[in-house]
Symmetry: C2
Subunit: 118 residues, 2 copies
């Protein structure tokens, strides 16, 4: 549907509330855009032209999130892991979510296409 | 606590799920950074040096969100309203949330300090 997309993958095992998830996802989105821009500006420009499509997906826990990160890195995608500062709800340094992209949608889907929507 | 911050204010009356809220907040965060950078790059640089602090707050509905936007605009802050594309959950064009900042924390707090955490 879109040529470019950004996906944010969130851990479901941390018991984070909706506001906490939103703040972590926002962090991943901003870091992901910066990383993509450094890697390949055309990804960010194409994604912007598409209206900045974003999809938020879920994984059961840290092991699955680490696996998604590794596969996205291996695919050459921009990967933006978020570790929480630990001021609220979770321990400092906890990996809470990861931004993948913005990048070409088929390449992102190849890594995240099997994950469920949050 | 931080010299700079970004606040994202979300409507609670739309029945959005956690993933939908996260995607809308991520959109507001990215748009807000872009807007702040165009208005005053030092806001974004200071915020980055602070670790990009973000807070997600809530309002009961559209009227309250419009009021926050108007007060933030009047205060000269970067304001990034998000209208949904309407592909899922809410009607196209619905104002779902707004990003305020990154900017100096006391100026953001003067507009949003009375709102509740999401």
């Amino acid at each position: 549907m879109f040529a470019f997309k950004q996906v944010i993958v969130v851990r479901r095992d941390l018991g984070m509330g909706a506001g906490k998830i939103a703040a972590q996802a926002a962090h991943a989105a901003v870091l992901g855009v910066e990383k993509a821009y450094r890697m390949r500006p055309a990804w960010v420009e194409g994604w912007r032209a598409d209206g900045m499509p974003k999809v938020v997906l879920q994984v059961p826990g840290e092991a699955e999130l680490a696996d998604v990160c590794a596969r996205a890195e291996a695919a050459g995608l921009p990967v933006a892991p978020v570790r929480d500062r630990g001021l609220t709800q979770v321990a400092a340094g906890t990996l809470t979510c990861v931004g993948i992209g913005p990048a070409a949608a088929p390449d992102v889907d190849a890594v995240t296409g099997d994950l469920r929507l949050l």
